[in-house]
Structures are given as C-alpha cells and as structure tokens.
Symmetry: C2
Subunit: 194 residues, 2 copies
C-alpha cells in the first residue's frame, strides 16, 4: 500500500464493508451489494442500477491499484512514474513532455515533476529538439529501458494472478464490455477536454 492513491469509493456515494441482499451478482455478496440494499431501504424509489455498475468499477479499481503497486514499489517506483517509462518503452520513440502528458492523462505540471525525478534517477534522458527549441525530446536511458524490461513481466504476472479467480470467459467478457464502455466514454468525455 504505502505511498498511494486514496482514490475513493464510487457509484453515487459508496463505501461499505460487508454483504447483504443485492440482485446483480449471485455468489457471495460484495461490498457494493450492501450499499445497494441500504439505499433500497432508505430511499426505495431510487433506481440504483448505476451504482451497481459504477460503484463496483470504482471499488475494483481502488483495490487493484493498491495491489498493483506491489512489484513497483519494490523497485522504488510509483505508478505514475512507471507509466511514463512504459509509455516511452511501448511507443518506442522519443517523445516530448507534452506527448507524455497527453498519453498518460496527466497535467503538464505533473509530468514536469515526474521527469525531474526520472532524470535524477538516470532512467530518462532529455535532449533539446533541434527544430523546435521549446520542446524536449525524451528517451529512456539504457538503464531505464532495462528496468522496464525487467519489471514489466513481473508486473503482468502479478496482475494476472490478481485476476486469476475469474474464468477465462469472464475476463474476456469483461474486456469486451469495458472496451465498449471506454469507446462511449471517450466519445462523450474525451471531447470535453482534449
């Protein structure tokens, strides 16, 4: 856990501990099921369906994010820095701070800070661009690249382990539905910003 997130609950007001009657899952009750049944009791006329979805989404991600960090922090990296490194690795080209910011959905200021850190640690290099002297071209150092290449398989194995309780079919359904949702949200919200 440690450093970290704190990203809060979800749906339309969540947070809970234990299970009680719901209607969407079917095995053991999850935290959100209890929240839903509480609402059903105090405000029975509300349609809480969005909470069943969004609340669970949010809580899953909150839990995953605590968990996911484990292999990272072992290397003294936080998730946002890791994301910068993996972005550079998979794009496989020099990138500017602005591109990194857009790709990682971070603010410019945040990227500036992360880059300072990563440079100090010798994982990333910056080179002033020849044609546009406002921008910097960033690249992984050999060490940065080696770190990611070493860390990524561990990270993936760890994540795979976290999901291993779902069946293959569940994982692929989940991927597919989330992909649709993501496209919808990108369309609706992506437009509002960049």
């Amino acid at each position: 856990m440690a450093a970290e997130d704190g990203r809060d609950a979800g749906g339309a007001g969540d947070g809970a501990k234990d299970g009680a009657g719901d209607g969407s899952g079917d095995g053991a009750k999850d935290i959100v099921a209890r929240v839903l049944s509480q609402w059903r009791r105090v405000r029975p006329e509300l349609d809480t369906e969005p909470m069943a979805v969004i609340g669970r989404l949010t809580r899953c991600v909150a839990l995953l994010q605590q968990a996911e960090e484990a292999p990272l922090v072992r290397e003294g990296l936080a998730r946002p820095e890791f994301d910068v490194l993996t972005t550079l690795r998979r794009e496989d080209r020099e990138m500017t701070p602005g591109q990194i910011a857009r790709e990682t959905f971070a603010s410019g200021a945040a990227v500036t800070k992360r880059l300072r850190l990563l440079e100090e640690r010798g994982l990333v290099e910056r080179r002033t661009s020849a044609r546009d002297r406002r921008v910097f071209e960033l690249s992984l150092t050999a060490e940065g690249r080696a770190l990611i290449d070493r860390l990524l398989p561990d990270q993936l194995a760890y994540e795979s382990e976290l999901l291993s309780g779902l069946t293959e079919a569940q994982r692929s359904d989940l991927s597919a539905i989330l992909s649709d949702l993501l496209v919808l949200l990108e369309g609706r919200l992506g437009g509002l910003r960049g």
Copy 2:
C-alpha cells in the same frame, strides 16, 4: 489537457490515444487496444491479457470520475465529501469518524479534514458520545440530509446517462462479473489492511 484528475493509466503501464488492432472488444477500437498492439510490436512475447482488463478498468474509472463530478461540483461538493454524506444517509444512523473512514476507505486523517469542512458548512453535526468519550457521533443536519436527498437523484440520473450506451444485458453482465471480482479482491487484499 487542462483541468483534471490526473488519475493515471492502468494495466501494467498504459496511456494512449487512438485505436489499433486488439482482440477483445469488437466494435471501434478503444485507447487500450492501441496500447496492447504497441506492446505486441515491441515485446511480442508478453502476455498482455491483464492489461486488457485492468487497463480498461482503470481508464473507464478515470473517465467516469471526471464525468461523475459534474452534478456534485455544481453544489460545491467534492466526491470525497459527498461520499461521507451519502454514507451517513444510507446507514441512517449516527456514525463515528472511524466508522466513516472504514466505510469510505479513507484514512482517519483525511476524514478529520473532511468532517471539519462539512461541519463548517453545517451539513454534519458531531456530538461527543456518552459512553466512550474518545469518539464522536456524527449525524447529518437537516440541511445535509436535504442536500443529499436532492442531489442523489440527479447524480444517479447523470450516471445512468453515462452508461446508457451499453445494453441492459451488458450492464448487468458487467455488474455481475465485477461483483465476483470484487469478492475476490476483497478476500485477497482486504485482508492486508483492515
């Protein structure tokens, strides 16, 4: 980029912009699909399945969280404060700061700060408990309760709207799978903390 959350990418190192071949969704390509195909190009031997799931989860939540806030901020509330209020509302009883912290998955210190704010705004009241003078009993004021009762339907309608692009079947599948995942994660990770 501008305003913003900053909640970062997902899977095992994400962040992207545009679509390219994947294998899990089927309609238009989402951001994560592009990330996956980039990895396939530079590290073809990696099994990126966890990223397909976790990356999408994380990104959906990041987008939803930006979006979700809208009705709240209109009332000058941030999500964490809203969560405190909704928790009190749906539990429908006096609660202590510690209980609120556990329910909302926040640290004690964070709750202390939020309560100070909510008290100042006259939305929450604290009463020193008779039997245990270490604790405070918190309750919504009439105003706090009215605010939540007014806000919650808007919030739910707004969230419902965000999900309206999915079919009823997709939403309920999503709920069900996430419920299973949540139970798994709670078991595995919930144990590590409280």
